[in-house]
């Protein structure tokens, strides 16, 4: 993590018709700190959106009195608002999405993550650049007698770079898809950890996989997915830790991280981790945000809701809190990843929710080809019984798609496969 980035004042506008959301203040503070900023103050206002400055001019003047190096808005800023504020108050200004992108940029370690962050940044900047160009063109025409023209190649350059990154990421996505298919073929069940940022996904990942990936009490510790193999009661799983969700995630950010989110969408089971120590309304809002992102990603995998950090609450508080979000919590289970509490229940639930293994009787010829296939079967499934007679008869238990993959041969029609 890089060091101090400078001082900021945070500004939040709340719609007077909506209920107050004090947790937004804490979330924005957390994001600013995670990005490496020192927060000098926080100003909030309940009013309708100001077309020119987002908040009232007085509030921005109040923020400027703190002497910050940058202003950070919770609400999304339009290109015009960024232009107006930075021109009128002579200060750099960013909104929450930009702040998230700064965090992502500081933590991106793989080539894929760098490309995703760059794509998100360019997608975000493109409309701004377009508006800035048109605003500049409004004031004057360059050249003698105004007959010249501005260099408007920047917008075009951005668009060209976006197209290039998208094609590179398509390659990454395709490779990821082939990798996941190959893993499924090899008999692994894919389990993905998903959930709101700072819910404890990496801690749970470390506990289950006995690993040491970075897990801290801060948002967006994990950016690139990490996968580890587990053997759970004889079942081979691949557990993947993924990037955390956040509310009001813009679509361009979801699109940019599509290859990462594909780890969730293509999993056999999703563990939706939530922080049970959050107050009930916040817990609910975060779960709603998670459902929204899962919907936007097109997730159809079964979900197990893992209520983490249960060690911070009493038994009574746990049951009351879960009661308030039951309509948003498929197959709930309570755990504390830090204290290894409830992990047995979680593992039992995971095994129950995964697609069941099936038993097949396979007949193979006693040839070199038949022995080769049997050898592949041993790699992907559990061989319960083998009888070497005139032909090889094997009783195997495993994922149907893996067994089909192991037996796949251009000349075979798989007619020798019988379900038991």
């Amino acid at each position: 993590m890089k060091g101090e980035m400078g001082t900021v004042v945070l500004l939040i506008r709340e719609n007077p018709r909506d209920d107050p959301h004090p947790e937004k203040n804490e979330e924005l503070k957390g994001l600013a700190k995670a990005a490496g900023y020192k927060v000098k103050g926080l100003i909030s206002q309940r009013r309708g959106r100001d077309g020119k400055f987002q908040l009232g001019r007085g509030k921005i003047e109040e923020a400027m009195a703190f002497g910050p190096e940058k202003l950070v808005f919770y609400n999304p800023l339009s290109p015009g608002q960024v232009y107006n504020i930075s021109k009128e108050f002579d200060i750099p200004v960013i909104d929450r999405f930009n702040l998230i992108l700064e965090i992502f940029a500081s933590r991106a370690s793989s080539k894929e993550a760098h490309l995703q962050v760059e794509l998100a940044q360019l997608s975000y900047r493109a409309p701004f650049v377009k508006v800035m160009e048109s605003l500049q063109k409004l004031s004057e025409r360059p050249g003698y007698g105004g007959s010249g023209s501005y260099d408007i190649s920047m917008y075009r350059d951005i668009k060209a770079r976006i197209a290039k990154i998208k094609s590179e990421l398509k390659g990454v996505e395709d490779r990821g898809e082939r990798r996941r298919q190959r893993r499924k073929d090899l008999g692994f069940d894919l389990v993905a950890l998903a959930g709101y940022t700072n819910a404890g996904k990496s801690t749970l990942f470390n506990t289950l996989a006995k690993e040491g990936v970075s897990s801290k009490d801060q948002p967006f510790t994990t950016l690139s997915p990490t996968t580890r193999a587990l053997d759970v009661k004889g079942r081979r799983l691949l557990l993947t830790d993924t990037v955390g969700f956040i509310s009001d995630l813009p679509l361009f950010l979801i699109k940019a991280f599509r290859s990462t989110l594909a780890e969730i969408v293509e999993a056999d089971l999703v563990l939706l981790v939530s922080d049970l120590s959050d107050p009930a309304p916040i817990l609910r809002e975060k779960l709603v945000a998670c459902h929204e992102v899962l919907w936007d990603c097109g997730n159809y995998a079964p979900i197990v809701t893992v209520f983490n950090k249960a060690d911070r609450l009493s038994e009574e508080e746990i049951s009351t809190r879960i009661e308030t979000v039951l309509d948003l919590a498929p197959s709930p289970v309570t755990i504390s990843a830090k204290n290894d509490q409830g992990l047995g229940d979680l593992i039992d639930l995971v095994l129950e929710k995964l697609p069941p293994l099936e038993t097949f009787e396979i007949r193979l010829s006693t040839s070199e080809d038949g022995m080769g296939r049997l050898s592949r079967i041993y790699e992907v499934a559990e061989v319960l019984e083998v009888d070497y007679g005139e032909e090889i008869v094997a009783l195997v238990k495993g994922r149907p798609d893996s067994i089909f993959w192991a037996l796949k041969h251009p000349d075979s029609n798989l007619s020798f496969l019988e379900g038991v």
Binding site: V288, W295, I303, T305, L328, P330
Partner: protein, 126 residues
Amino acid sequence: MDVVAVDISGRHSVDGAYIMVCASVSVRISPEKIEKTCGVRLVPKTAPSPDLDVVVDLINSATKGFPGVVVAEKGDFYNMERWRAESILGREMKYPESLGERRAIELAHHISFAGRNMLLDLEMPL
């Protein structure tokens, strides 16, 4: 949980009139999927404008008799706050939160869209 998901197709002007079809599906949902579809209803209506009164009447006719909370996209109620939409509708309603509720609305959307197309193809009087 029993809900009635609604969706209206045709909130755009065709020759100066709004040919709308409201679909409601009475479903039993879990947090992540639809468990059972108990009933479906299509209500067509042609109106000079898609006013809130027209939309509310349409939704009321489509959901009448179906048990459970009405679930609708925020846009169907012109992004109105939930409490306001609920008091105008006169029964319990909410905007979708869980995957199950979103899937129910998706189902209603497909039904209203296909139903409207079918009625237009058949040139039935709306």
